[in-house]
Symmetry: C2
Subunit: 354 residues, 2 copies
DNA sequence: CTGTTAGCGCGTTCAC
DNA sequence: GTGAACGCGCTAACAG
């Protein structure tokens, strides 16, 4: 196996033609006679010729490569997202260059500079941790860019984006509980200052007020964030008791891990789900369907978001006009929610116990 | 924002020097006087100069890019793997080009050709579904390549690899049950013809024979694969009863999803884990720690495998000699296993029930 | 120390 | 139809 790769010059020499003839023949130029074209193609095949994308890129000024920035690839969410991105990218003949930011803003900037350096054709940024105050610096972008699930007030002209409608998701979750007859409904948040947390809470309030129910301060539990970072699971576990004590019969949790934590707390307190308490999560992670009882939850659509974002980028390449996308999440009904009934007795139970 | 990027020629013109002086200055060549070097660097800064990696690559014959092939990025396992790869790649100044094969051999070949076309410096292949009969074609590889968790008889010279020691993993799982006093131990496999399934079963037998226990045919359950593809979860759920009927007090499951399925079957049958039956999984997926009871399992080390594979590739770049790596999995003890005791009564229980 | 020149491999005028 | 020549942006060998 020869060390150096075959170039069009090599095959031109062997064919007794010039390198530009070879170039044309391989690209099916109509300027070339059918005969020599086939001849050259055959020769290229035999010589194991593999065109050099680098040289082509230098000429075309296109790399057929998109840069993707995610917080962490190990996070199954971003895994699904990248899956969607990669699929439509590959179908369009593009490749994905992957960078992880680990939620660090400096690393995100470094990743963008790296992508500029490598002359990617477009950039996709999906970094839940980057707050809105940061992304101003992204303005320096000179290549088409799509933001995924990132909050920006300047969504309008400068940025293109696709995101999940968290407010609607919160609504959907709470409406489900309302439909089941619940009126005392709580929310457990995580208290990072993310768009998601805020908007899901907004959706919660919205659904309640649409049902003419007044919100009760005690039904909303959000941890203090000055202390140690705490896992979502532990948040659910620790905050559940106070909501139960406040007499709720249903709880909408910020996400599935919070709900799972809450569920475990229920088990330890002897509260049975869903008979005594209904729980709704958010995200629809794999775990949600395997736990007992299986978790009713609002489903993210990460693969789809990836596909849409990449498709949007392709449109931008062709300079089409694109509209930002706000994806509607949908409810997945499972075993952790049911009709409210004798459930109201729980609060007494707890009060006795405390 | 100017459309065309700044080149070293642009800044050379402005500085009144030649482009090669600029090139040297920016690369800290000792041939350049400190004065003009600083001057040029400042100018480059002001003009927002970003070097062109494509042009550099064409010159260096290196792209500082590695190609990574995985079955599916959405699979959390591969997510962790890529996480490990990306981290050490980035530290070494390399970028990751990602391709998914979806277990399709043709797509895998296409991915490799694509990587050749793009002149990556090295390739990492992690594709559990590709059998040993296929990878002969990988021999055409002309760039340094490391195989991850792929079975090859030709591991020796041609291929470099890092893999998990499934046989040892099986041993470790069964030895744990033996240590707890179990003597009637079962295995639930999945019956794909993968290296993993075969070797974990081998480990199971090895541990039993080392303990001077004779294996019982009825204690090993492996589904027929001619029918529909069936999820690991359902395999565990469906095969559990027959093992319990055969009187086992402990079961080593091919992986965690199988174990979770088995666990659910236990719940439905009124068998309590671990009091009546001990379960050991494999993989240590996130779910394993959240389910009740938390699952004792043999842990994969995917992030580490990614790091090691990428590090090996870096060594290959420097033409160092490298040894193939066989990673030892380790046991994570949790709630689904305990001392054998009155457990033997289960078999009777089942027999009565059937 | 700095400028000139020659490629890296390919696509694309512009002549013939 | 085909070849010669130029340029994409950069590094390196060779002059001075």
């Amino acid at each position: 196996m020869s060390k150096r790769k075959i170039s069009i010059e090599d095959i031109a020499r062997k064919a007794g033609v010039s390198h530009s003839t070879v170039s044309r023949a391989l690209r099916d130029s109509p300027l070339i006679s059918a005969k020599v074209r086939e001849e050259i193609k055959k020769l290229a095949q035999e010589m194991n010729y593999v065109p050099n994308a680098i040289a082509q890129s230098l000429q075309n000024q296109r790399t057929y490569t998109v840069g993707v920035i995610v917080t962490s690839i190990a996070d199954p969410f971003f895994g699904e997202l990248v899956e969607g991105i990669e699929q439509v990218a590959r179908k369009a003949g593009l490749n994905v260059l992957l960078n992880a930011s680990h939620g660090d803003f400096d690393q995100e900037i470094a990743a963008i500079e790296n992508f500029h350096y490598r002359r990617v054709d477009g950039i996709l940024v999906a970094d839940s941790r980057i707050g809105k105050n940061h992304n101003k610096r992204l303005t320096q972008l000179t290549v088409p860019t799509v933001l995924i699930n990132i909050d920006t007030e300047a969504h309008n002209e400068t940025f293109h984006s696709v995101a999940i409608d968290d407010r609607l998701g919160g609504c959907v979750a709470v409406e489900h509980l309302l439909d089941l007859g619940h009126t005392r409904i709580g929310y457990i948040g995580v208290g990072d200052s993310s768009k998601a947390d805020q908007q899901r809470l907004e959706g919660y309030h919205l659904a309640l007020s649409q049902a003419k129910l007044s919100a009760n301060q005690d039904w909303v539990a959000i941890p203090q964030r000055d202390s140690q970072t705490i896992s979502d699971f532990d948040i659910g576990k620790q905050l559940l008791p106070q909501l139960v004590a406040a007499g709720v019969t249903g709880i909408f949790c910020y996400n599935d891990m919070v709900a799972v934590g809450a569920l475990l707390a229920c088990k330890e307190l002897g509260i049975s789900v869903p008979q005594d308490l209904s729980l709704v999560g958010f995200d629809n992670i794999a775990l949600a369907s395997y736990i007992t009882p299986a978790l009713t939850t609002v489903s993210q659509r990460m693969v789809e978001m990836g596909e849409l974002a990449m498709t949007m980028l392709l449109d931008l390449f062709e300079e089409k006009a694109v509209d930002n996308i706000l994806l509607s999440p949908f409810l997945v009904k499972r075993g952790s929610t049911t009709q409210v009934s004798k459930a109201k007795k729980i609060s007494n139970y707890i009060e006795v116990k405390i």
